[in-house]
Amino acid sequence: MFESLTDKLNSVFSKLKSRGKLSEKDIKSGLREIRLALLEADVNYKIVKDFIKSVEIKSLGERVQKSLTPGQQIVKIVNEELVQLMTCDVEEKPLPKNRTSKLLIVGLQGSGKTTACGKLALHYKKNGYEPILVAADVYRPAAIKQLEMLGKSIDIPVYTEDTTKVTRIAKGALKYAAKEFRNLVIFDTAGRLHVDEKMMEEVEDLAKVISPDQILYVADAMTGQDAVNSAKEFNERLDLTGIILTKLDGDARGGAALSVRAVTGKPISFVSVGEKLSDLEAFHPDRIASRILGMGDMLTLIEKAEAVFEEDEAEKLQKKLQKNLFTLDDFLDQLRKMQNMGPMDEILKMLPGSNSKLMKNIKVDENEIKHIEAIILAMTLKEREHPDIINGSRRHRIAQGSGTSLQRVNQLLKQFDQMKKMMKRFSKGHFDMGKQMFPM
């Protein structure tokens, strides 16, 4: 998501780094480029100003001047400042389970509130809560129906009432939750403009009736400079407790994350990274700051990998690789597991160095993986174990059986061979993620 910003900062710093010692003028020109990059990334211009000022003061300080590697020092300062800007020292209170906790979801039109409600419900259900969803968007056509469909898909009840009085719906929902012994009530509300006085009053009244444990503001990661205006108004009216940042699976540079965080002073509680209801993640300021600075998001990747790969299985695989016993079956297995980790391009983005031009040109087509799957499944067990025996006539048969072409079969075999070589290097500790793996 922050690729382009990273690219720009990288190019600025490579200029700084190559010179060794920096003059005040060097630092100023570097900072100007950082300023432009941040503005292009949609960070609010006021926040950029403050940010640049504090980086400048620190950069002109002794620490940088006396350092042999001033460029690196500035990278470090920018990193620290970014992390600081996104870190919140206010501890988030966990929602109590021993009574009915209440969660109010608010935001502009189209920011993704209803989907976020579904994701939150699933998240808390997995964590041992018994949630219900409440449809308090009485304006947008079919909004209630949308929440009902989402609720049904994750087996969570949705409370609705045929009225346009949202406070009445809220009261009814709370009664229902008490009667059914539900310990978490998630209220979905209509999208509203922060300048729409009537609608803002409505949500204020709603908050008074509910007295929610948390009020979460849903912010679209693609938002531009206006992000601060709306977030500020919502925060002033409702005293938000947190922020959900949505649509982070796009390629928006996500400056809105910095803006909304800074202007409200409230933490980003969750980020939403896909259209599936399970695509909700905790926000890690340090990880995202590293990502901004081109250091990749290895921690998230490792976490995801751990969730999919069993440990002893990984060990077995390691041994196979070392003994060169890695088969096409194993390959298919790995491919499927990697798919379970999430969209392939998302995973690639998390790898260090993935911001280079090289990686950018690699487009991962999930359909391609289906083709690979088809080709391997069209092979006999023996062929999968010993790809060497696959001769011309076997290749023809496999191409026909998988409904692909001879070229594709050849390509896959070649790729597999390359991959085996690369994995061998991997297992020896060379972390050299290159183009070989996904040349398609």
Partner: protein, 307 residues
């Protein structure tokens, strides 16, 4: 109410705060210096115009200040207004608005965009305008993915009094569209408005789906869709340019409908899209009512902001 005055009313907030801020800045510093230019830069950036267009505008402004020895608030402001009007006027002199009274039939419009920009609402507004011109309108529920998207369009169809064609969720949008195109021809509809699922431009599969949708439409009418309209949320930042670029790689785009201009966002990114990709704004959404869709007019638009 004429379009101009209604637009002006809608944009009054934007306008006032802009002028006030500019006046403050110039009065505050009292003279035209580097700091002033940087402050003007900030105002333009704040409107989401982006670094590159902002740079173009301020460098022209600096030149005029120098050449014409401008030193007063009003002079600087007037010069700034003129620069922006000139740029927009040049860019928009050959752009036509959406034809709500087309001769061709069936006239096919395809609406695309990322999630949550207001595609379905925009389609409803367009349908109303076609209907006002006595056209027989068919809505196509091509968003078979998002929960309740079909119902949302159905409710609009009922309110406006037009027909809608759809299938169940999870079905191939191309198959819905194929059937719809068949009925459109058989039952001689004048206008076909096709809704599509919101899709992030970074998802290759979903972009490919758009290519397929286009091919499906062309199986029935070879020169359709007659208008492919990218719906862009005015609150979108610089990523809007990237969105348009990626969509453009899959399907030719005739214009942009800029929505949610009734908030405080200025939608400046649409000017960036025009500048870098030559896709013009064709209409703007200025409210949640069915008639809150206006033709885009560059001069009026700038005037409403700067007058």
């Amino acid at each position: 109410m004429s379009i101009v005055s209604s637009l002006k009313k809608k944009l009054a907030k934007t306008h006032n705060s802009f002028i006030k801020r500019l006046a403050e800045i110039v009065q505050l510093s009292g003279r035209v210096d580097e700091e002033l230019i940087e402050d003007i830069e900030d105002i333009l950036i704040q409107a989401d115009l982006g670094v590159s267009i902002t740079g173009k505008i301020t460098s022209r402004l600096e030149e005029q200040i120098r050449l014409q020895k401008l030193s007063k608030t009003e002079q600087v402001y007037k010069a700034l207004e003129n620069i922006i009007i000139t740029i927009l006027h040049d860019e928009y002199k050959d752009v036509d608005a959406i034809d709500f009274n087309p001769e061709e039939k069936p006239y096919v419009l395809l609406f695309i965009g990322v999630n949550g920009v207001g595609k379905t609402t925009t389609i409803a507004k367009c349908a109303q305008r076609f209907k006002n011109n006595g056209k027989k309108v068919l809505l196509v529920a091509g968003d078979t993915f998002r929960a309740a998207a079909i119902e949302q369009l159905e409710i609009w169809a009922k309110r406006i009094g037009v027909t809608i064609i759809g299938q169940e969720y999870g079905s191939d949008p191309s198959s819905v569209i194929f059937n719809a195109m068949q009925s459109a021809k058989a039952q001689s509809y004048d206008v076909v408005l096709i809704d599509t699922a919101g899709r992030l431009h970074t998802k290759i599969n979903l972009m490919r789906e758009l290519e397929k949708i286009k091919r499906t439409i062309q199986k029935h009418i070879s020169d359709a869709p007659h208008q492919v309209l990218l719906v862009v949320d005015a609150t979108t930042g610089q990523n809007g340019v990237q969105q348009a670029k990626k969509f453009l790689e899959s399907i030719p785009i005739d214009g942009i409908i800029l929505t949610k201009l009734d908030g405080t966002a200025k939608g400046g990114v649409a000017l960036g899209i025009k500048d870098s990709l030559q896709i013009p704004i064709k209409a703007i959404g200025v409210g949640e009512q069915i008639d809150d869709l206006k033709d885009f007019d560059a001069t009026e638009f700038v005037k409403a902001i700067f007058e």
